[in-house]
């Protein structure tokens, strides 16, 4: 309940923030603080300094241009969940953001903080993965882009370098004939996903599946993509039977268990929840 001492910096630009981060190897970036402050209160994290990027306007925008949705790192879950632009261009992201934590958490927590924290049981990583999001990152040597599939490395580990800051998330706007759904089976205490399934399907003119994606939170050390299920759906009629058959062989590598739910049960949940997400996505396509 009582964080250790730290220095506090409040840069007014990304550039300044990156500079301070480069100068302070033990520093942590503070956005909404809803991933970081809880672990600091339990003294599981004791950074020497916090760099508060929460007031940098450049990180707070939602925009859509040229078929691309761009969301600043400091945009909150609540803003994402309720943004008409996001609901239209990436409804999956809005749906997942609306299921994170609780009302209070959604007002403060940010997409950048969430993805950088890379908690596998949080709701956004699978959505970002399923949407093929591109993450824009700034460091002392300028900016670079990373695909979501390369961003999540391991349990709470990303490919962000120690002196880099996630600045923006870019997602291709949903095309016609695409439907998506995020379905979560929540841990009764934490509200995190015991298993969360993010599904995207696209139907062609004849109704058959021309593209699919199914990703999971909560089952293993990182959000994972069930490529096999997606591949076997393409070309199918997306009937309940086709979906059942596609998920029946689903096996998530390195599924992890804990005292609340075993790895094996999480695998089974993934099938049930995954199928449900796919059916809902299909109905919305």
């Amino acid at each position: 309940m009582f964080p250790s001492k730290f220095d506090y910096h409040r840069p007014s630009s990304v550039q300044e923030a990156v500079q301070i981060l480069s100068d302070n190897p033990d520093a942590k970036v503070l956005a909404g603080g809803h991933s970081l402050i809880p672990v600091m209160k339990l003294r599981l994290a004791t950074p020497s300094a916090l760099i508060d990027i929460g007031r940098i306007d450049a990180l707070k925008g939602i925009s859509r241009a040229n078929g691309s949705l761009r969301i600043g790192a400091c945009v909150t879950y609540n803003e994402i969940a309720n943004s008409g632009v996001v609901q239209d261009a990436a409804p999956l992201l809005a749906e997942a953001a609306g299921q994170i934590g609780d009302r209070q958490v959604r007002y403060r927590g940010t997409i950048g903080g969430n993805l950088s924290h890379a908690d596998p049981a949080s709701d956004l990583p699978a959505a970002a993965l399923a949407l093929g999001a591109t993450l824009h990152v700034s460091g002392p040597n300028g900016s670079r882009s990373v695909s979501a599939s390369e961003f999540f490395v391991d349990l709470m580990m990303t490919s962000l370098q120690a002196d880099e800051i996630l600045t923006e998330v870019e997602i291709s706007a949903a095309s016609a004939g695409t439907g998506s759904a995020y379905v979560k089976f929540e841990h009764p205490a934490s509200g995190y996903a015991l298993c969360g399934a993010a599904a995207v399907v696209t139907r062609g003119a004849g109704g058959s599946c021309t593209g699919a994606s199914l990703c999971f939170n909560g089952v293993s050390a990182t959000a994972v993509s069930a490529n096999g299920v997606a591949a076997s759906l393409v070309g199918s009629d997306l009937s309940d039977g086709a979906i059942e058959s596609a998920v029946s062989n689903l096996s998530i590598p390195d599924a992890a268990g804990d005292m609340f739910a075993s790895a094996g049960y999480r695998q089974e949940l993934a099938k049930a929840i995954g199928a449900q997400a796919l059916r809902t996505a299909r109905d919305r396509a």
Binding site: M1, F2, P3, S4, K5, F6, D7, Y8, R10, L30, G33, H34, I37, P38, M40, K41, L42, L50, D52, G54, N78, G101, D102, R103, Q104, V105, Y107, R108, A189, S190, G191
Partner: protein, 155 residues
């Protein structure tokens, strides 16, 4: 190495010099004497510390005081405006509290809920309260209270 911050708390201007690690909940309770805001957990679960920060319900145990610099804050002490807020009244009328410890945060959260969804269904109310724990009431009468307040406020 204190940092100067300025806030408006329940309509009054406040200037404080704070340690960066000071949590907003502690600023309110210990420095400003606003002990209506409670601290019931240390993992951001229970919602007893919920306040309105620039009009939105947040858990003040998970916000640094320095992050709130320049903000407007309403705590339970600032909710009544000469008379009880309809939500306070509804909690009283419907026996929506027993020990009262979760109540300030619960009421603030419910005020926020109705501000974004003035006519929630029972299911929406129950999900809307997922950030606030109550161990006494089984939530039954809290749900009644929110329904009553919604009726009152929708006049």
């Amino acid at each position: 190495m204190g940092i100067s911050i300025e806030l408006e708390v329940n309509g009054a201007s406040v200037s404080e010099e704070v340690e960066p690690r000071l949590l907003l909940a502690h600023l309110l309770r210990e420095e400003l004497g606003l002990t209506g805001t409670k601290i019931g957990c240390d993992t951001s679960q229970c919602g007893s510390c919920t306040i309105l920060l620039d009009g939105q319900a947040v858990k003040s145990c998970t916000v640094l005081a320095v992050q709130a610099d320049g903000s407007e804050i309403t705590t339970i002490e600032g909710l009544a405006n000469g008379e009880y807020h309809p939500m306070q009244q509804a909690f009283w009328d419907n026996h929506g509290l027993q020990c009262g410890f979760c109540t300030p945060g619960m009421i603030i959260s419910c005020v926020d809920l109705l501000s974004t969804n003035p006519q929630p269904s029972e299911d929406e109310i129950r999900h809307g309260l997922e950030g606030n724990l109550c161990r006494c009431t089984g939530y039954h009468n809290i749900v009644r209270a929110v329904q009553t307040a919604a009726e009152t406020m929708n006049g």
